[in-house]
């Protein structure tokens, strides 16, 4: 709860009329905290978390410089201290340093009661004495209804208790009174209607053998509050309340992109991968490579110096690390959390900021017996704790895939909204059923920015993985189904075979390519032959032409010779004629 405490401290404006409880979600519902200087009633059956809220309220106040007094009518002071220490509050130190005092008002069972009249003034005197001694401004009265059983036989009890409550009201101390639901104690003594300015009810319900705890602010005098019932989580990590309701989409829009670590996939997403801060869904049947793809994104994000929180719902961290190592991806290299034990760790406010901000945190969340809502709240708390830039939920379908629980779906939507609002990139994998025809059951598609679908393609006795970008808001995407290959060398996108026979993948793609190869070779040979023939033809033609020319030339020479002979003959004849005529003269 400490991380949220810090975060909320910044966002909730400090008002003098409210006292923050230190539980982020509760303070948000209460618009800052419980009424300062007034009594608040916290009622709920045993085990609903009243004492945890009360202890948090006190210790948070002490840490903020407000000493506190804790009055217990039920648990021993030692048990309460151990309780508080268990949640990471240095309660014993607070006591030693005089900032916390516990007043043990557990009834003495051996006390003999005689007579008609008792007075409870001593309770007030003790509380006043402690408040003054510590200059305390916060007071918790835990399990006030315990007093009724003890002094039930006295007719004066009723008026005496009324006097106690009047006094507390007049005392002007910020007070949290817890009571069980037994016999409507709080109503009978006017706690609910008259004494308390603020009433918070805790309830637990069991449906399908899964327990859910809910909190509701019943009343808040002189101030606004949220009126819904809010599910909350209570475990060793403290109390966690989902703080978001009807959150507006105020995502910090980023123009920066996040590489998927696979050049081919980046190319399918417009060249550089998805936008940072977007919600990416990787859907696919079993064995299609969702986790491997998510891990590739994790590596790319770690390489880019981002803080990554990987929440694995099915694989253990060791399995995940080993399986990815086989594919050439060493997740351990990027881990900043080392190999510390899983689960909630120390919740001391002081240590939180010592964590380096970047690197990978791997967390398994595997308790199958949890209700889906509780599951989701665990996730939200982890996110609040580590404040990652990128979160992987693998698979998200284990959170909401079954779709029978509307509350779980609502909580999932809240989670997605929360991540959006914080500008956190989400990589969620979704396991699709084999017979579902690749239809998503999440029903949150409107919240998804980038939806990548992986599927198996079975042909010619082998299975190939195909990858499609179904949608990617604001990105020019490839509309082609490509092949996605997982090997010891990592992940790669392969262009599918695109030929006359249609689209083919895997070995079929290779076969098709081989067929094409043979055909090409054949064509080449044919071409070669045709060219050869053509060349020969040209040669023949040229030779014929040469021959014709030679013949022509020969014929021409012959004709020339004949012409010359005839001309010579004619000239001889002419000369002879001339000689005859000269002789006649």
């Amino acid at each position: 709860m400490s991380a949220e405490t810090h975060r909320e401290g910044a966002t909730i404006e400090h008002r003098p009329d409210v006292a923050p409880t230190g539980i982020a979600g509760l303070d948000r519902i209460l618009r800052g905290g419980v009424p300062a200087g007034r009594p608040t009633l916290l009622r709920g059956a045993a085990g609903t978390g009243k004492t945890v809220i009360a202890l948090t309220f006190l210790c948070h106040g002490i840490a903020a410089g407000e000493p506190g007094v804790l009055v217990t009518f039920d648990e021993s002071p030692e048990a309460l201290l151990a309780h508080a220490e268990g949640f990471g509050f240095p309660a014993r130190r607070h006591v030693a340093e005089g900032r916390l005092r516990i007043l043990d008002m557990r009834p003495d069972r051996n006390e003999v009661q005689v007579g008609e009249t008792i007075e409870l003034t001593v309770i007030l005197a003790r509380i006043a004495h402690a408040l003054e001694g510590l200059a305390a401004t916060r007071l918790v009265i835990d399990a006030i209804d315990g007093i009724e059983a003890t002094f039930a036989s006295y007719p004066s009890l009723r008026s005496e208790l009324a006097r106690v409550f009047d006094w507390i009201r007049e005392r002007r101390v910020t007070c949290l009174i817890t009571t069980g639901e037994r016999g409507e104690f709080s109503t009978r003594y006017g706690l609910e209607d008259y004494v308390a300015d603020c009433v918070i009810a805790l309830r637990q319900e069991v449906t399908n053998r899964v327990m859910t705890r809910v909190l509701r602010v019943v009343k808040r005098r002189g101030g606004a509050h949220e009126t819904n019932e809010y599910p909350f989580l209570l475990d060793a990590g403290g109390l966690f309340l989902v703080p978001v309701t009807g959150a507006e989409l105020t995502a910090k829009v980023s123009d920066r992109r996040l590489s998927t670590g696979i050049p081919g996939l980046d190319a399918m997403l417009g060249g550089d991968g998805p936008y940072r801060g977007s919600t990416v869904l990787l859907s696919g049947q079993a064995g299609t490579g969702k986790t491997s793809l998510a891990c590739s994104l994790v590596r790319a994000a770690c390489e880019a110096g981002l803080a990554v929180l990987y929440i694995s719902f099915e694989e253990s961290i060791d399995e995940l690390t080993r399986n990815q190592r086989v594919l050439g991806l060493d997740l351990a290299r990027y881990r900043r959390d080392g190999h510390e034990a899983a689960g909630p760790e120390d919740h001391q406010d002081d240590h939180r900021d010592d964590h380096p901000k970047d690197g990978l945190v791997l967390r398994p969340v595997r308790a199958v017996e949890l209700g889906l809502e509780e599951h989701l709240m665990r996730v939200m708390r982890l996110i609040g704790e580590y404040r990652p830039d990128l979160v992987v939920l693998d698979p998200i379908s284990s959170l909401a895939g079954r779709g029978h629980d509307p509350a779980a779906k609502e909580t999932l939507l809240r989670l997605l909204h929360l991540l959006k609002a914080e500008g956190v990139t989400l990589i969620a994998t979704e396991l699709l059923s084999d017979d579902g025809g690749g239809v998503s059951h999440l029903d949150v598609s409107s919240m998804i920015d980038v939806w990548i679908r992986l599927r198996r393609h079975e042909n010619d006795g082998e299975i190939n993985r195909l990858i499609t970008v179904v949608k990617a808001r604001g990105l020019p995407i490839s509309n082609q189904v490509k092949e996605f290959r997982i090997s010891g060398a990592g992940l790669a996108i392969e262009e599918p075979y695109l030929g006359t026979g249609g689209i083919a993948y895997g070995t079929a793609r290779l076969a098709r390519a081989a067929e094409d190869e043979a055909e090409l070779e054949q064509l080449d040979q044919e071409l070669e032959r045709a060219r050869h023939a053509r060349d020969q033809l040209t040669e023949v033609t040229a030779a014929a032409a040469r021959l014709a020319r030679i013949e022509e030339e020969a014929k021409g020479a012959e004709l020339d010779r004949r012409i010359a002979q005839i001309e010579q003959r004619l000239a001889q004849i002419a000369r002879a004629r001339a000689a005859v005529s000269r002789g006649r003269e």
Binding site: L103, V112, V114, G115, T117, T121, V122, I147, Y154
Partner: protein, 93 residues
């Protein structure tokens, strides 16, 4: 068995406190008549609240007998003297 001390804690001089004081005095007087010397100390916790804290007192009037052990406490206006005597282990039940 002499020198026993009963501490009666009250919260202001209320009617109930006065009744308790009167009742306790009457009881002690009765015991004195039987030869048992018991002292009474009346403590107003409004004046000494830390004592109420130390004794973990929830309601007044209350009379506490520390010695001899075990500690005995009787709360109320002590109007039924026999019950008080039994409660404080000053008389067999």
């Amino acid at each position: 068995m002499s020198g026993q001390l009963l501490r009666l804690y009250i919260a202001g001089r209320t009617a109930a406190a006065s009744r308790a004081i009167a009742n306790l005095e009457a009881i002690v007087a009765g015991l004195a008549a039987e030869g048992q010397q018991i002292a009474i100390e009346v403590i107003d916790i409004l004046e000494r609240p830390q004592l109420a804290e130390d004794e973990r007192i929830l309601a007044t009037p209350v009379v506490i007998k520390k010695l001899p052990p075990p500690v005995r406490r009787v709360v109320g206006d002590l109007s039924e003297h026999d019950k008080v005597l039994v409660g404080l282990d000053l008389k067999e039940a």
